[in-house]
């Protein structure tokens, strides 16, 4: 497979373009008669001038060439952060348009789930609810973010088919969009954690600062996942159900509703589970512990592996995604 070299000049990353998001929903477009009537009421306006841009391609089958193109894509996507944020925000608003509480429905459903599971499992496990509920609220909210991000990563490119096929747009924009959308949902669910922590008097401490590097790693991994699964799912349409099944299994194998200590001696092997490492680097500091060195090593190694796999797939797939979707 060949690929190309694209170069964009400094301030003007892309040529002007016209998108067509949502055209499927548009339904019947008026025929020529409709045009006639529709345009009767128009008047002339002034037009803003489009930015200049330069687009250069050269067939290049080398890994270095592909790498350069993919880097340009990521750079272009970062430059369009305003667009990516707007898309993510609009996605969230559209999902809840017409509902009175909007995304707060998420908060309520998460709250109910945490309350119900908390009472049930603290009894099942014979644990003190004052200790268990803060743990569970944190775990469930973080896991909900993780699993919905993985699931939605699969549709990163396919859901934007209309835009990709009508305008030149860095694919990284859609990665950021998927991530932003999930962060907005997470932000709403954080309210549940705050309420539970408030009820059980869990107060902030200096350990909380340790979540900053943890969350940074989450963002990096989230973007890698959207590139990997987005491209893979554009090519193979049966990946998403497979991914969802894997996440279901992972949910039970990872200490989300059960505590690592309950595993006894087996807990030493938990760092081999990438989901555990990633959960722990954010969860442990918030619960007042310091994540173990092994956990951090595991989290970093798994993240590096994820990025390596994602990047090697993305640089090959990037030029073909427009044909796949």
């Amino acid at each position: 497979m060949l690929s190309m070299v694209a170069r964009a000049d400094g301030q003007n990353g892309r040529p002007e373009r016209v998108g067509r998001a949502g055209w499927r929903q548009l339904g019947q477009l008026p025929d020529k008669g409709g045009w006639f009537i529709a345009l009767r009421r128009m008047n002339l306006g002034t037009t803003p001038v489009a930015r200049t841009a330069l687009l250069e391609f050269e067939a290049d089958m080398t890994t270095a060439g592909r790498h350069r193109l993919a880097m340009a894509d990521v750079g272009g996507g970062l430059k369009l952060w305003r667009l990516a944020l707007s898309l993510g925000w609009l996605d969230t608003r559209l999902r809840y348009r017409g509902s009175m509480l909007g995304p707060l429905w998420l908060t309520i459903s998460t709250g109910v789930m945490v309350g119900a599971l908390g009472v049930l499992y603290s009894a099942l496990f014979g644990m003190d609810i004052r200790d268990y509920l803060p743990f569970l609220s944190l775990s469930l909210v973080l896991w909900a973010f993780l699993s919905s991000l993985v699931s939605e990563a699969c549709t990163t490119f396919t859901e934007s088919e209309a835009i990709i096929r009508s305008v030149r747009m860095p694919f990284f924009v859609f990665s950021i969009r998927t991530l932003v959308r999930n962060i907005i949902v997470l932000a709403h669910n954080v309210i549940v954690i705050l309420i539970v922590f408030g009820i059980f008097a869990v107060w902030p401490n200096w350990n909380w600062l340790l979540i900053v590097p943890g969350l940074a790693l989450w963002v990096a991994d989230g973007l890698a996942l959207t590139l990997l699964l987005g491209a893979f799912c554009a090519r193979f349409r049966d990946i998403q159900p497979i991914v969802n099944s894997i996440m279901q299994i992972a949910f039970f194998l990872t200490p989300v509703i059960w505590k690592p200590e309950q595993l006894g001696t087996g807990a030493a092997k938990l760092p081999l589970n990438p989901f555990f490492d990633l959960m722990e680097i954010v969860r442990a500091p918030l619960l007042g512990h310091t994540p173990g060195v092994l956990v951090w090593i595991g989290a970093i190694l798994f993240s590096l592996a994820l990025w390596a796999v994602s990047w090697s797939l993305f640089i090959r797939a990037r030029g073909r995604v427009a044909f796949w979707i």
Binding site: A6, P15, G19, R20, L29, L39, T47, T52, R235, I242
Partner: protein, 257 residues
């Protein structure tokens, strides 16, 4: 806007993989590989060569028309020039701001309000926030939607959707204008104001690439015509000559400017 617009295309080819049925399924591919049938499966993959070895050089002032039957590669070539499809061979260089009018619905999301659609379009085009409000004013004024601008496009009448779509599409002035035939469909029905606006954009553009089935439109707008046939250039030259050959007529001496 100081730099001259130009398009240089050298030996570009585009292949379309046609995926159907089992080639879209990872499970079936894995099963096939396990059964030793993968090699055969890959050979069975149908690849359509949408464009073959296209060479094209356009400079400021050029007005190129693309003609050819359905599936000749006209829209694919427009998409390549717009940077959407990446060719597998050759090289290209497109200099200048570009606007591609390829699809009737023009990036509108019917769930969003008219105003949100306008801002989103501005963002797609990377306009700075100062220009966003200018774009909003311009489109709002042209489309004459009034208070409907803050309601979802879904509830607009068909006429309002067309007005908004047209106003959006013609709001940003490019150096290079790529236009699919759809946009000129019903050209005769265009009312003066709308046609003026479109003509102003076409005339303001340094380079026009227009794909159309209607030879009168190509004759009217274009000075040069590229005749595509099954992804290959069949003829390239002055509009009148190529069009006459395309339509199977006697070569006429009067080429329309």
């Amino acid at each position: 806007m100081t730099s001259e617009a130009s398009i240089d295309v050298e030996g570009i080819s585009v292949f379309f993989p046609l995926y159907h049925g089992s080639s879209r399924s990872l499970k079936k591919m894995v099963v096939a590989a396990a059964a030793g049938r993968l090699a055969k499966d890959q050979q069975q993959r149908i690849v359509v060569q949408a464009l073959r070895d296209i060479h094209l050089k356009l400079r400021s002032g050029d007005r190129l028309g693309l003609v050819g039957s359905n599936g000749a590669g006209k829209t694919t070539l427009l998409r390549v020039l717009a940077g959407i499809y990446e060719p597998v061979t050759g090289r290209m260089r497109v200099q200048g701001s570009l606007n591609a009018l390829l699809d009737p619905s023009l990036g509108m999301n019917v769930e969003l309000t008219g105003r949100e659609n306008i801002r989103l379009r501005g963002l797609y085009n990377g306009l700075p926030s100062g220009l966003l409000s200018q774009l909003e004013d311009d489109v709002a004024e042209f489309a004459e939607l009034g208070d409907f601008l803050d309601l979802p496009v879904r509830i607009y009448s068909a006429g309002m959707v067309v007005r908004l779509g047209f106003a959006l599409a013609t709001a940003i002035k490019p150096q290079i204008l790529l236009m699919d035939e759809w946009f000129l469909a019903g050209d005769a029905a265009f009312l003066e104001k709308a046609r003026h606006r479109l003509e102003a954009m076409v005339k303001g553009a340094d380079i026009l690439v227009l794909s159309s089935h209607q030879d009168e439109i190509v004759r009217h707008w274009c000075s040069r015509v590229l005749w595509l046939d099954q992804g290959e250039v069949r003829a390239d030259g002055p509009a009148g000559e190529v069009l006459d050959a395309y339509l199977g007529r006697e070569p006429a001496s009067a080429a329309v400017e």
